[in-house]
Symmetry: C2
């Protein structure tokens, strides 16, 4: 892989500059921004639907849906009546700062408190690319197994939050949530962990409370900076 | 993404030459080679374990385990008493021709009929890189949902076989296998589809029969070419 290393370094440096531009735009608009990542089918879109249902009365939310192709997820989110943009990467395995930047014109940022970006379903590549977010959050489904932190460490290291999803499937799969937690915390002792089921709704109140607090803290911080 | 396109093209062309070298080596050794791909936790290693159990009396099998880091999977496969090599990509999101080439010295190819390569768990990037394999096979777990062909089309287009795994979970997840099949076949009408559960063993006989036939056809073809 020596061939690729200098190229990758250039791409990451260029991305970092674009992410910084986005960060400035988000701060000016007073937005809290989450970059939501997981492997395919772990439940990113379902978590967004549940989060919108829980917080829509208090928080103005928008979503950027990242997919290689299709607008399936944006249509799902659109039904919730929040601002949504579909970003198609056309083959690329992750979102990057430039893609996010180019999608911002389609959103009315001044009318949002919380922007949630759903990354391409991929437990590897998205972890390397900052988008200008305040926080990376990842989802791991119990159906994926408790060995995933051992095998995909970077995403666990980069994330602030781990949502262990589909806990309603625990009786039917071989997954030790205690081991999963322990392995994740060995990689990142500061990881905030929530055990949830986006199907039954279990555990989602704690997540919504925690997120509400983050958005509120962020607002207070920005208001403080202005005075 | 204009930035990356020429670079990606160079990398793919360089990879194709290395894959071709591997293909020559595999043919000389009379090997049938499978490149097994899926998202994280869809069941690649479990499928390998089941396949080894089903065919070990008739077919000499070896495994190359690809992971970003850890040797967890190679240890699992090693317990089956077959030849196994662990390849750690050190961060990279897919295997490539060069990695495979560099791992071949660790295998006694003359004593193998079937080489199974387990790619990094990723439903996107591995589909772009040929390794010199005879056939790409992919696994999709029903827990991932029936919309995956719409969102990750390339892997379905590149694969010869789709194994729909974890069908024992169907009563507990929202997944319409009919829709999943239909969407996959729209992308690739030649796809051979098996519905299996690596947990209960259901459906795996058909897969083993089909694979036995491919290995045998390949042997006959190679023997024919020699005479």
């Amino acid at each position: 892989m020596t061939l690729k290393i200098p190229v990758v370094r250039d791409i990451l440096a260029a991305n970092e500059r674009l992410a910084e531009d986005n960060r400035r735009i988000f701060r000016q608009a007073g937005l809290f921004v989450i970059n939501l990542m997981s492997g395919p089918g772990a439940g990113k879109t379902s978590l967004l639907e549940r989060t919108i249902d829980a917080l829509r009365q208090e928080i103005r939310m928008g979503v950027i849906e990242g997919d290689i192709q299709s607008s399936y997820d944006a249509e799902r989110i659109g039904q919730k009546g929040v601002q949504v943009v579909q970003l198609n990467t056309g083959g690329s395995c992750h979102l990057d700062g430039n893609m996010i930047k180019s999608s911002l014109d389609a959103l009315d940022l001044g009318n949002l408190d919380l922007l949630m970006v759903e990354n391409v379903g991929n437990l590897v590549c998205p972890a390397e690319f900052n988008l200008g977010e305040d926080m990376k959050a990842m989802i791991l489904s119990v159906a994926e197994g408790d060995d995933k932190p051992l095998k995909y460490p970077l995403m666990f290291q980069e994330s602030r939050v781990l949502l262990i999803n589909k806990i309603d499937l625990l009786p039917y799969v071989e997954c030790d949530v205690g081991k999963m937690r322990e392995r994740a915390l060995q990689l990142n002792a500061d990881l905030e962990i929530f055990e949830v089921s986006c199907r039954t709704g279990e555990g989602l109140d704690s997540w919504a409370d925690w997120l509400r607090q983050r958005v509120s803290d962020r607002k207070a911080e920005l208001d403080g900076a202005k005075t």
